[in-house]
């Protein structure tokens, strides 16, 4: 029974991860894409970790899973914020400069 639960967690986690990945390809602009990676990706990983915790069941692993989850919840949004911020800053500056009507943040070669 526990195995089924674990399996479900894994499947759910894997699904979210995959969806998040698809999201960053499908969604139209960068900030929207980041919604996918930040939320769905994080949740996917968390689900999988929970699955692992249930599967192994030892206190050591549970505590490690909790630690990992907390670390992830702490760092993932920060990372997202950093990208978003960099993107937003450059975007805003470009908007202020009408000559630059092309891509946001040109790709530096």
């Amino acid at each position: 029974m526990l195995d089924v639960l674990v399996g479900l967690f894994l499947l759910g986690g894997g699904g979210f991860v995959l969806i998040a990945a698809i999201g960053i390809v499908r969604l139209p602009d960068l900030l929207t894409r980041m919604h996918a990676s930040t939320k769905a990706g994080t949740l996917g990983s968390l689900l999988i970790l929970v699955g692992l915790a249930i599967f192994v069941g030892s206190a050591a692993v549970v505590s490690k899973v909790i630690a990992t989850s907390l670390f992830l919840l702490l760092t993932a949004p920060i990372a997202a914020h950093m990208i978003g911020r960099a993107y937003a800053r450059t975007e805003r500056q470009r908007e202020a400069d009408p000559k630059d009507s092309g891509k946001l943040v040109t790709d530096p070669r």
Partner: protein, 140 residues
């Protein structure tokens, strides 16, 4: 950089990663981890610091020069090897002193040269990588 969010996060993360690096160092003999990984993590904690507050601040937080720290680490590693001379063993022979028992099976924990060596490794990696990173950061 001066992102408030990142700086605030860094405050927690620096300490967290640093403690974690020590954790990885100390457990390394029995589980994944060890001096390298610990040192790399330790360096990363200060790199986070440097990213948040600038490498000047990070240097200050480190208190000693990273190059010096690395060199001291090398010295410690070497000393951990040389100490076996006192016991008539070849270089780097592990010297173990068991606390709370008389063998690895019964003892609570041990004081040993192998860990000292790993601490040396930790310091070298920490100092070396920080030295590199700070230099890069300051020169760009």
């Amino acid at each position: 950089m001066n992102s408030i969010i990142f700086t605030a996060g860094a405050r927690i993360l620096v300490a967290l990663v640093f403690v974690f690096s020590l954790f990885m160092l100390l457990r390394g003999h029995h589980l994944p981890g060890g001096g390298f990984i610990g040192g790399l993590l330790g360096a990363i904690s200060f790199i986070v610091y440097a990213l948040a507050c600038g490498s000047e601040e990070a240097r200050k937080a480190l208190r000693v020069s990273p190059e010096g720290l690395a060199m001291v680490g090398l010295g410690i590693a070497l000393a951990a090897g040389l100490v076996s001379a006192l016991f008539g063993d070849p270089l780097f022979t592990g010297q173990w002193y068991w606390v709370g028992g008389d063998s690895y099976e019964t003892a609570l924990f041990s004081i040993n040269s192998v860990l000292v060596f790993d601490i040396g490794v930790y310091l070298v990696v920490l100092g070396g990588i920080l030295s590199l990173t700070f230099a890069f950061d300051e020169e760009t």
